[in-house]
Amino acid sequence: MNQEPFLTAQNVSHLFGEQQKVLANLSFGLPAGGFTALVGPSGVGKSTLVRLLAGLLRPSSGQIQYANNQPPSIGLMFQKDNLMPWRTAYENVRLPLEIQGVAEGVADTAVRQMLDLVGLNDFAQSYPAQLSGGMAQRVALARALVHRPSLLLLDEPFGALDALTRERMGQELLRIWAALPVTVFMVTHSIQEAVLLADEVMVMGGQPATIVARIQIALPRPRRIEMIGSKQFQECAGAVRLAIEEKVIG
C-alpha cells in the first residue's frame, strides 16, 4: 500500500452559525488507497466531517489539502440508500455518468461492470422498491463508484442493515476496494466493523470534537469474518474500546 497521504486535514475547525462549534482543530491524513474508519458517539460531528471532506461544507478555519492539489472526485454513500425510486437499478447507477456527460456507450459498459462487481446484474431493470435493503445498498455502492472516484466517503453505510447482511456487505466492500484504486473513509457505529475493515480507526469525541485516538490495525489482509475470534483482533478492538471509554465517555 502506498503511504503517501492522499488527503491532509490541518487544524480543521467547523462552526454552525456563530456559536455552535462542532469540530475543533482536527489534523490527520488519509493514506492514498487506504481504508480509514471513524467511530464516535452520535451527534459528535462525524457526518459534518464527511461533508467537509466531500467539499459540501467549507471548514470555518484550517485546511483540507489533497495530493496534487486538486479536489478529488468523490463517491458518496449514506445510511439510507437514497436511490431515486423512479429510476431502475441500472439508471440509478448511471446517474453520476449522466451528470458528467459521459457518452452513452461508455457509460453503459461502466454501469454493467459496476453492477457485475456488486453482483446485481440480474436486477438491473428492477426498481428500488423491488430490492431488499442489502441489494439497495449495493446499488448505492455501485452508484458511488461508477465514475471511478478517488475518494469514497461512507457515512454509516450499513447501519440500517441486519447483522448478517451487514457482515456480508463489509466483505463485499473489501473485495471491491481491493479491485479499485480508491481511498476509503468510512463512518461506523460498530467497533467490530471498523477494526475488521480498516487499516486505521480514528476515534472522535468531545465537544467540540477532536480526534482523540488513532489506532493502527495491523491485522493481515485479506480480512475474513473468522478473524473476529483471533487474539490480535480482540486486542485491536479492545484498544479502540478503551480509547472510547477513557477519552470520550470517561
Binding site: 461533508r51 459540501l56 458518496l76 437514497n82 431515486m84 423512479w86 429510476r87 423491488q130 465514475h147
Partner: protein, 256 residues
Amino acid sequence: MTWLRRQPAWVTVSLSFGLLLLVWQLVVLVGAYDAFILPGPLDVVRQFGVVLVDGRLLRHSLITLSEVIPGLLIGAGISLPLGYLLAKSPLAERLISPYLIASQAIPVIAIAPLLTIWISSTFWARVLVAVLVVFFPVLINIIAGLRSVPQELYELMQSLHATRWQIFRKLEWPAALPIVLAGLKLGATLSVIGALVGEFVQPRTEGLGYLLITARYQFKTDLVFVVLFTLAGMALALYGLVTLAENRLLRWQKNQ
C-alpha cells in the same frame, strides 16, 4: 359483495350510477313533485336530447371548455416557476406568501366582478377567474413536492458537481412530479368551477354558465340538470386526462 368487489371499475360505477337514477326516479314518483322543482331522470334525458340535437349544448360546452383549458394551463404555468421560487428562496417565501395566503381568504366570487370591470374582454376575464381558482392548490403541491426531496440527494448531486439545471431535471422535477400531478388533478376540477364563476358574473350570451342562468330564469329545471351533469362530465374528463398522463409519467410506481 365478493362478486361486486371482483368487477372492473366501469361495472361498479355503472351500477352505482344506475342505482342513483332509480332512487331519483322513485323520489319523483312518490313525491309527485312538479317538474320545475325536481324533474325526473327521464325528463332530464329528454331535455338532454333536445339541446344536443339543436346544437346548443355543444356550442356552450365548447365555449366553457375554451375558458377552462387556458385557465388550467396558465394557472399551472404560473404556479410552476413561482412554486420553485418559493420553495427555494426563504426570502421570497417571507415576502410573497402572506399575500398568497391572505388572497385565499377572499372568495373568488367576490373578486370576479372586479375583474370584469378591469378586463374588457369577456373571454380573458373568465379565463382569469379560472386561473385564480386553479393557481393556489397547484402552487401548494409544487412547493410540497419540491420540499419532499431528501437533503442527502441534493448533497449527492452537489458532490458530483451537478449544474442547477441537472439538479432540477434529474432530481427535483421527477421527485416532485407525483405530488405536482395530484395538485393538477385538483386543479383540473377547480378550473371548471372557476370558468363557471367567471361566466356567472359575466353571463353574456354564451357558455354553460349562461345556459344555466337562463334555464333557471325560465324554470327549465331539467335543463339546469343537463348543464350540471355536463359540467360534472367535463371535470371528470379533465381529471381522467391528468390521470392518464399520471399513468404514463409515473409508470415506475406500478412496479412497487
